[in-house]
């Protein structure tokens, strides 16, 4: 019963977030921790509600800007990747597509899947001489 109310509460928050987004985008309202709020909605329980499609749609819009800090987007990518391990298979496919799109939009995030440290350390040594 408690979990049911959590789901219900999450659905209300998600719908409200979409309304807040419209106000921010079209009517110059500000909401300071909007990305934190969106981040907090990515929980395992969300896959058992009928509003998950809306959450992914909203997240896609929120993270579509290439001006976002990379660490913010990287946090979302990491969380989504962890969720894909425990989500139902059909949702895991959607998450992977979403992660792929985020990596394509923010090229700096490539190091999350392909680290190239040895070459970078050589470059740094060149300037130390």
């Amino acid at each position: 019963m408690v979990i049911f109310f959590i789901y219900l509460g999450g659905a209300v928050s998600l719908l409200a977030l979409q309304g807040v987004f419209t106000l921010i985008q079209k009517h110059n309202i500000t909401y300071p921790n909007i990305y934190e709020k969106l981040y907090s909605m990515f929980e395992p329980e969300i896959f058992h509600t009928k509003f998950k499609a809306r959450l992914f749609y909203l997240a896609d819009i929120f993270l579509s800007s290439t001006h976002l800090p990379e660490n913010l987007v990287a946090a979302f990518v990491k969380r989504l990747a962890r969720l894909s391990l425990i989500s139902p298979p059909q949702d895991a496919v959607i998450i992977l597509y979403f992660i792929g799109n985020l990596l394509l939009r923010h090229l700096g995030l490539k190091r999350l899947i392909s680290a190239s440290e040895p070459e970078e350390s050589k470059l740094n040594e060149k300037y130390w001489r």
Binding site: F5, I6, L8, G9, G10, A11, V12, S13, L14, L15, A16, L17, Q18, G19, V20, T22, L23, K26, H27, I29, Y31, N33, E36, K37, Y39, S40, M41, E43
Partner: protein, 259 residues
Amino acid sequence: MLENLPLTPILLTLEVVFVEVLKRRDMLTSSSEDKKDSEAATKYRDWLKERYGETWSLVLKGIGSDKSVDSSQSLITCMKLLAAEGKYPLDNEDALHFPRKRLRSILDCIISEKRSQLSVIQSFKEYAQYLDVVQNCWNTLSIIIKKAASFKNETWALNYLELANAIPLSKAVQDEAKLLVPLSDKAPGAELFEYNNTRKFINRVWHSLMLWLNSDVPEAVHKQMLIVLLECVLAHLEKPVLLTDFLMDSLDCGKYNPR
């Protein structure tokens, strides 16, 4: 025993009979009457009007039926009679007005306090493609909620919100401009679609809905209010900035904590 009879054939028969009677103008009160046969004709006309009134009561009662097939068919019959009465009015040669009183009686039956009317509202969505139905529904909904004054009960509120969600004033509906009751050229200008008027009705409905928040509103109603806001109302609000408090409170409703 009569209550166990299937309603659908009865509704369809009544629909066919009275649509034909309306088309033939048998119930039309003519201004110039020949006095010789006026008594018999008047008696016949009055008798027909009484039967017509009885038909409306029965069909409206059918909307509250327990069987979803019967309630949906009752709604369809009501709307067809409404359309026919709009095109062939009882008191005029020309179609001058949309039959708002009939629409009000239909919506009063749909927005029930006793049972959820989801199946009927699903059937009603078919009429949401008509611009005149959408405009007059928002007008009627603004009157209904004003007269209700406060939050009645959860079932009533959910039926009201589901109905509001079923009639969005989208760009597609405005562009297509399909009419259920095409009015004649002599119809007054106030009967024709005017976006600003419909916008006023939508804003009135939303302001009245906001008053519900003064009392404790169940979560399901709160969620449905947000859905109606996002799908139907937000694009037409005159002062959307006033939503800020409501949306911030709703955001805090969620039990998720940022980690």
